[in-house]
Amino acid sequence: MKQLERSFYSKTSMYSFFVIVLLFFSMWIGTSQFKHIDMALIGYMISSFIFAIGLTVRMCSWLIRPATHQVIKRSFKNLKTKERKKRNIKSIATTAFENIVLQKFIFKRGLYRGIQHFLIAWGCIGSFAITFGLTFGWMHFDLIDPDTYQIIVMGIPTIIMPAHGIFAEMVYNGLNITALMVLVGVIMAITRRIRSKDVKVTQRVEFDLFPLYLLLAVTGTGLLLTVLYTFLEGWMHPYMSLVHQVTVVVLLIYFPFGKLFHLPIRPLATAVPLNYQETVKVDTRACLKCNTPYSSDDQIEDVKGILGAQAFDLKLADGSYLSDYCPACRRRIRVMKQLNMEAPLGNPYDPVQTRNGIHISGFGKKRQDEFYNKATKSDSKQEERV
């Protein structure tokens, strides 16, 4: 493996190379040795390759981050541990279903946001699946007889369907359906971003709005194409088709580098139940100071590891680390230091004294007693006149 790696410029370029090889191989199989390539889709195909490379590069640079690396490393280790098999399966299943398929957590942020995100997410995923399936030739239709089509996936004949059946219509119109989903979702999202003051506070045009407008352009032109050849007998169709192609190319190239990149990293959410929190809100590790449970051993170990890998020294004099304490104790430690209250002062019977005569935080100026000794009656009189 090492040997192989050294023959590439970097790990990333190695992975990119293999992704491309894999894609070509899948195309080779899918199109029966390149027999079924749809030359009309060649533009899409090239941009899809760029997309694949971009995605690989971004994934690699993401995985190299110490924090991500640590979490992934622990995830793989746990996945390989036999004793955790039950927990692993449960974690993956619930995360995949609740977090990714149903996107429950977004619905909890608001029904509107939930619907909007659900439409965009599944619309996009569906569109990508169909687009890639067709451009890489993973899937094509064969005419068996004048009334029957067969779907060929990776060169393997699968479902047979009547050419004008409901299912067939749905398959032909798959892209239209997903596009409609995206369109509705995107319009909802744009409306929210225009209307809500709260969202505007931290929103950035290039990051938050551009992808929405891009998706709007892609779905808008795509659906317009359908309208053109269904109702207007293909009027302006070639030009529109070119415009649509351009928007898709831009989207594919932009995808790995913008906001939409959150899609491929979402599966990492599995790591939370897998590694850290078997049951939500149940903590197992106790704070070193106040003993309230606040995290799990593995997570604190990981946090220390990640910080250590980045030369963050959050070690205290007694050898403990700040992450050994619960957040509330960490805040208190900070303040006690500032207020000089690590050790109790004064009479233990009385309330604690927070002033030690040294000018520290607050109330900068203390007057010498002489000030008051000087203020005899004549002085105060004088001051009055002034």
Binding site: A67, A269, I306, Q338
Partner: protein, 180 residues
């Protein structure tokens, strides 16, 4: 933005106006991001306000596996981006000051952003605006330096100079939240 947040714990009277005000700020979704706590209620009524330091190199961002914690051009460390945050809570454990909060329901971390919509226009954040005791202030960097100098001078005037046996009393007297 060339102002900083400046905390003086001793001034705090524990009224928690800053918490109420935090909920009022745009984008805060009616959840406060700062803290007011008793040092030890049994011993004294001393409370302290606590908010994000807006670190230049924030540990919370460093420990985030999803790279969700971003810093604005002004230097404000924002809440985790909602689309990236995977809800692992690493940030709450990584932060040396115990600042980030976590919402289990919505599965996201949220934290002080210095009322970004106010502070980016050089208007004081809500907590600093309302704090009746001026335990939280939004002041010029130079003013903060001046305050510190004054303290040192006052100590010197009264003949108080850190020595080996009591230097621990001269802990840093300010708690600035930089965002210059």
């Amino acid at each position: 933005m060339n102002k900083i947040m400046y905390l003086e714990f001793e001034r705090c009277i524990g009224c928690r106006a800053c918490l109420a005000a935090c909920r009022e700020c745009g984008g805060h979704d009616a959840k406060e991001r700062n803290y007011v706590e008793y040092v030890d209620f049994m011993e004294s009524r001393q409370t302290y306000p606590m908010l994000c330091m807006q670190c230049k190199d924030p540990a919370c961002a460093r420990v985030c596996p999803a790279n969700a914690i971003q810093i604005t051009e002004e230097g404000v460390v924002l809440s985790a981006m909602e689309e990236k945050c995977i809800g692992c809570r690493n940030c709450t454990f990584g932060c040396p000051f115990g600042i980030p909060k976590f919402d289990f329901e919505e599965n996201k971390m949220y934290k002080c952003d210095m009322c970004y919509d106010r502070s980016k226009h050089d208007i004081a954040p809500m907590c600093a605006s309302v704090c009746p005791s001026e335990a939280i202030r939004f002041i010029d960097f130079d003013e903060m330096q001046e305050l510190r100098r004054k303290r040192t001078q006052m100590n010197l005037i009264e003949g108080k100079k850190p020595a080996e046996h009591d230097k621990w009393q001269y802990v840093p007297e300010f708690f600035g939240v930089y965002s210059d």
